[in-house]
């Protein structure tokens, strides 16, 4: 038992409280932008039931970016993943080797209907259950610095722009 984490852009989600116009069983259109696939695959992360690896995953993900920025995410209990969606462990390419190997997942063979079903589950069972969060950029900088100190994150692999951004945060 654990959670599936999807990185999102919070501004597409937190304004969804007015669903009076949304047909029953359907979902607002905006959050679908956070489920754009590449080669029919969607990248997600596995989060332990006690969320003990949540911050480490967030920091790892942030190291794959070009700029220091906040992280918004939504969590779905893994047992509520739509049954026809396949999940595979695939090594990610962040600067945290353990996170890459242990917690990254790909959702594969996604079709249009499966994507909508997935987004709907994240909305109903994640967003609506307040399993949505944000780490602001300064906290992410702190997490990355801690990751480097603990030798979890390889600083040599950080992009130059990200490194500059992190250094500029007091």
């Amino acid at each position: 038992m654990g959670f599936i984490l999807r990185m999102i852009t919070g501004s597409r989600w937190y304004d969804l409280d007015d669903d009076s116009w949304v047909p029953s069983g359907d979902i607002h259109g905006d959050p679908l932008s956070d489920f754009r696939t590449r080669e029919n695959v969607l990248s997600v992360w596995f989060i332990e039931n006690d969320k003990s690896n949540l911050e480490r995953v967030a920091a790892a993900y942030a190291t794959s970016r070009g700029k220091l920025d906040q992280i918004d995410f939504v969590l779905l209990p893994d047992n509520l993943l739509p049954p026809d969606i396949q999940m595979k462990a695939v090594v990610a390419k962040t600067c945290d080797k353990i996170a890459n190997e242990c917690w990254h997942r790909d959702l594969v063979q996604l079709t249009g209907q499966r994507i909508v079903a997935l987004a709907r589950q994240f909305y109903r069972e994640g967003y609506k259950k307040e399993e949505m969060g944000r780490y602001d950029h300064s906290y992410i900088a702190t997490l990355i610095k801690q990751g480097i100190e603990r030798s979890e994150i390889d600083p040599k692999r950080l992009s130059a722009t990200l490194r500059t951004d992190i250094e500029s945060v007091a």
């Binding site: 919070g10 932008s33 220091l68 920025d69 906040q70 944000r134 602001d136 950029h137 300064s138 906290y139």
Partner: protein
């Protein structure tokens, strides 16, 4: 009265070159408002005063910006007390009768500081077109956290190029609902990230102003911008906005940013 820039200043009223009367940054603002309004009335009652009449929306913005920001413009300008703003409209020339609208929206700016810098190009009409086009063409662009967008790159470049003129025109577009909400959200985030001391005060003002927007997206962009700006002067506005925020996600985020700024204050004083 002609609206052509070169005819706006009556030679008989020209007691001193404008460049000696006004800081360069104010001259740039005049250029912006001149173009935005299509016409403008100058009066030079004394060597250090002038009155301008402009459309209500820009007058309100300029008044608010000057009153609520630390003026960190060019080195010619020392501090915000250089400017006194009033609703009074003084017309010495009876041929320049202001309309009811311009009377209501006029601003008198008294400059106690003078400059001897060269007369800048004040009739540059580029900023308005460029800024409007930038925001218009960004509609539909999908923005991602942690990555520069072509919009954000151009925005930063425009702010660095046009300074406070750009900030005021962006404010004018945003506050009057002329900007797509996703674009406004992205713009506010990046306005907080720009490293430019000249526009710091006006950017802070705009970000604080947008905390009161009716759009949650705009408010979120403003919070993120203030978080990036990292200026303790944004804290009271954030704390106040947190108290009235109904969206629990945004309220929690505002409180976190306030706490981060508090922490910063502690570090600074320790």
């Amino acid at each position: 009265m002609s609206s052509h820039p070169s005819t706006l200043l009556d030679k008989t009223e020209k007691e001193a070159p404008l460049s000696e009367l006004l800081p360069q940054s104010i001259l740039k603002l005049l250029a912006l408002f001149l173009y935005g309004q299509g016409k403008i009335y100058f009066q030079l009652p004394t060597a250090t005063q002038f009155v301008l009449a402009l459309d209500k929306s820009r007058a309100t913005l300029l008044r608010s910006a000057l009153a609520n920001s630390h003026w960190s413009g060019s080195s010619n300008t020392k501090n915000p007390t250089d400017f006194l703003i009033s609703d009074e409209f003084v017309s010495r020339d009876k041929t320049l009768k202001p309309t009811a609208e311009t009377t209501n929206s006029s601003i008198k700016i008294v400059c106690s500081h003078t400059s001897s810098t060269e007369l800048p190009i004040i009739w540059n009409l580029e900023p308005l077109n460029e800024i409007e086009i930038l925001f218009e063409t960004a509609r539909g662009e999908v923005f991602e956290y942690g990555a520069e967008s072509s919009f954000s790159k151009d925005l930063v470049s425009i702010v660095q190029k046009y300074g406070n003129v750009a900030i005021l025109e962006i404010a004018n577009l945003m506050i009057h609902g002329k900007v797509d909400l996703d674009v406004a959200h992205e713009a506010l985030r990046w306005l907080g990230r720009v490293r430019d001391t000249d526009t710091h005060g006006f950017r802070l003002w705009l970000l604080k102003h947008c905390l009161s927007s009716s759009s949650a997206k705009v408010r979120d962009g403003a919070i993120q911008g203030l978080a990036f700006l990292g200026d303790l002067a944004g804290k009271p506005a954030l704390a106040e906005a947190a108290q009235r925020e109904k969206n629990i996600f945004l309220r929690t985020y505002m409180e976190k940013v306030v706490a981060t700024l508090d922490q910063k204050k502690q570090w600074a004083s320790s």
